[in-house]
């Protein structure tokens, strides 16, 4: 792939709100032209703020915003070559579908004939032909979403900013719209900066995922990198499920955890350096006890459709294992871990906070609570 130039650079951005709350700290991010970038994090992590800094609705307290290499701090939103799709769409209730889409063109005094033609093309593009005269309030959520897309995209922005655009849709529609958005991005070839708290959405749509927490970047990478090579315990826990164990590195290619040495593929740590070990639940094999590298007691089994989710207690630490083989609760099983299933991370301030499934059911409750608040 050829190296494209950066269309947006955020350099050392800090944002402090009037009430003194710091939402972004020394934030750096470069976005390449034509890229689909997703800012992923829980509510309050600063992802929407980042988007609003790019759109121009928030002036950073410190740092520079560069567009095509030129500084655009202080340029008002209406002069920036970016458009936004807002979370609640923000369609104008006093205009019909046609006038909503034509809004930006009218402001730029585009001739009437051209407006008609371009809005017509746009309606076709988002599959809303024949809806010109329709009242905005009489549209379904999915249709409103399409109008919001058309209204933004018709202005031919260099960058489209999307603030949790699918949050208000139901699951089925959300999946359809994910594909549709991805297609639109491919067809237009413009940069998308997408904000979401839904990791699955982020992993399936993006070229690049930016995991954020507490106003800082935790990791930037491709979806595969983010999943397979998390940089710290926060990312490992936030993306997918992880068993995260305390351990150390006696030497290169050997990791020590759960009281044993294991062969692994990681190196470059100081001798005996304290580390966090990540092992994904699907990377652990259940084997007969005598063949196991570790043995433990099955304390919980849940059927998940494609696989079973088994909780195994090994000396007080509860592992989660996803397997297609059934092991009954109360049985003793052996665990087998391949070297490439072990991922070693440097210690961070998130070490020890995540990755033990001893209170698994509680964690699920908290998660569902979080998504509720997101609304």
């Amino acid at each position: 792939m050829e190296e494209k130039k950066n269309i947006i650079d955020l350099r050392n951005i800090s944002v402090v709100f009037e009430d003194g709350e710091q939402v972004l700290r020394d934030f750096n991010l470069s976005i390449r032209d034509g890229e689909f970038v997703t800012l992923l994090g829980q509510s309050g992590c600063g992802k929407t703020t980042t988007l609003r800094v790019i759109a121009g609705f928030i002036e950073p307290s410190a740092g520079d915003v560069l567009f095509d290499g030129k500084k655009i701090n202080g340029v008002p939103p209406y002069q920036r070559p970016v458009n936004t799709i807002f979370q609640r769409y923000a369609l104008f209730p006093h205009y019909n579908v046609f006038e909503n889409i034509a809004f930006g063109l009218r402001l730029r005094k585009v001739p009437e004939a051209e407006i008609r033609q371009r809005v017509g093309e746009m309606l076709k593009f988002v599959n809303l032909e024949g809806f010109e005269k329709r009242d905005i309030t009489k549209l379904s959520g999915g249709q409103q979403q399409r109008v919001a897309i058309a209204r933004a995209v018709i202005n031919k922005p260099k960058v489209l900013l999307l603030d949790e655009p699918l949050a208000a849709l139901d699951l089925k529609l959300r999946k359809d719209m994910q594909n549709e958005l991805k297609n639109i991005q491919k067809q237009l070839g413009i940069t998308f900066v997408y904000v979401t708290h839904d990791q699955e959405e982020a992993l399936s749509m993006s070229d690049t995922v930016v995991v954020m927490n507490e106003g800082t970047v935790q990791q930037i990478g491709t979806p595969v990198d983010i999943y397979n090579e998390p940089q710290n315990a926060f990312v490992a826990d936030f993306i997918g499920e992880s068993n995260i164990l305390d351990g150390h590195m006696p030497k290169d290619l050997v990791a020590h955890f759960a009281g044993k040495d294991f062969v692994c593929l990681d190196k470059g740590f100081a001798p005996n350096e304290e580390v966090d070990i990540v092992i994904r639940p699907e990377d652990v094999d259940i084997v007969p006890v005598e063949q196991g590298m570790l043995t433990g007691l099955v304390t919980g089994v849940t059927f998940r459709g494609v696989h079973f989710e088994i909780i195994v207690d090994i000396e007080g630490f509860k592992w989660m294992i996803q397997t297609t083989d059934f092991s009954p609760e109360g049985s003793t099983v052996g665990l087998h871990i391949e070297p490439d299933a072990i991922h070693v991370m440097k210690k961070s301030k998130y070490s020890g906070l995540y990755g033990d499934f001893s209170s698994y059911s509680d964690e699920i409750d908290q998660l569902s609570e979080l998504t509720e608040e997101e609304e």
């Binding site: 008002p76 939103p77 970016v82 807002f86 609640r88 006093h94 402001l107």
Partner: protein, 275 residues
């Protein structure tokens, strides 16, 4: 289901009866009086007599239009600024706007008379500076000022109410799509605040065109508005028939004016906003 329908009927029956007797019937009686003489026989004389009040009607219309226009002109930006302030400032300002409304209109108007009259406060202050006293009471300006003063909150409140309900996200969306401040005002704020403006116009225009107290006090007996004529016919001349005829025409005038305003506003909104 049947039972609950019956109960709903019983619940609304007293009101329907009341509204029929005390809202609808009185209007019919106005019509009856307007078309009869004091002995109760049919006549068009009352309506014929109205011709001599043509000037008064026009003057009332003219003054109330000016007052409504000026009130709108100052209320609109004020309500806009108010709606963009912090919640505490908004609450405080709302209180300050509403407070004068709760004071008796007669007292407030009388107080203006004290300020404007020949031996009044303004002229006393001017006198200290050695300036000749001005004649303000008895001018059209004083009457219009009285209308603006008394009904200003009725314009501010409905406009403020709709403005404060405009989703800030819509303004951001407009800005995002290329709208500067002027375009935001013209394409988003103005159309969305229309219902409030209409309510405000109605709430200022209707009492202004029908006032008699303001013109009595600030008009200094020199300015007669349509309300004064009705008051005189009913309360001093006891000519109920002529009073009814003028009231009828006033009512029709008001309804027509509001129909014009509503047509201008389009049919998209159901009724206006009461605060």
């Amino acid at each position: 289901m049947k039972q609950s329908n019956l109960m709903a009927k019983i619940a609304r029956a007293p009101y329907i009866l009341w509204a029929a007797i005390f809202i609808v019937v009185p209007l019919l009686i106005v019509v009856y009086y307007a078309f009869t003489d004091s002995s109760g026989s049919f006549t068009l004389a009352n309506l014929a007599e109205l011709v001599q009040y043509k000037e008064t009607f026009l003057l009332s219309l003219w003054y109330s239009l000016i007052a409504t226009f000026i009130t709108l002109l100052i209320s609109y930006p004020f309500a806009f600024f108010m709606s963009r302030k912090g919640p505490n400032a908004q609450r405080m300002m709302l209180l300050l706007v509403m407070l004068p409304m709760w004071m008796n209109l007669l007292i407030r108007t009388y107080s203006w008379m004290n300020i404007l009259e020949r031996n009044g406060i303004i002229n006393n202050l001017l006198g200290m500076l050695g300036i000749e006293p001005l004649t303000m009471i008895g001018t059209g300006g004083a009457v219009i000022l009285g209308m603006i003063y008394n009904y200003l909150p009725y314009m501010i409140l409905p406009i403020y109410t709709v403005m404060s309900k405009i989703d800030p996200l819509l303004l951001e969306a407009a800005e995002d799509l290329g709208a500067n401040n002027l375009a935001k005002l013209r394409r988003v704020i103005l159309p969305l605040s229309k219902p409030g403006v209409i309510s405000g116009i109605a709430m200022v225009f209707v009492p202004s065109i029908s006032t008699f107290y303001i013109s009595q006090k600030l008009g200094g007996g020199k300015i007669m508005l349509i309300g004064d004529v009705i008051e005189r016919q009913i309360q001093t001349a006891y000519n109920y028939n002529l009073g009814a005829a003028i009231s009828l025409i006033l009512m029709i005038l008001v309804l027509l004016s509001m129909a014009v305003v509503n047509r201008w506003a389009g049919k998209d909104e159901e009724g206006g906003v009461i605060f």
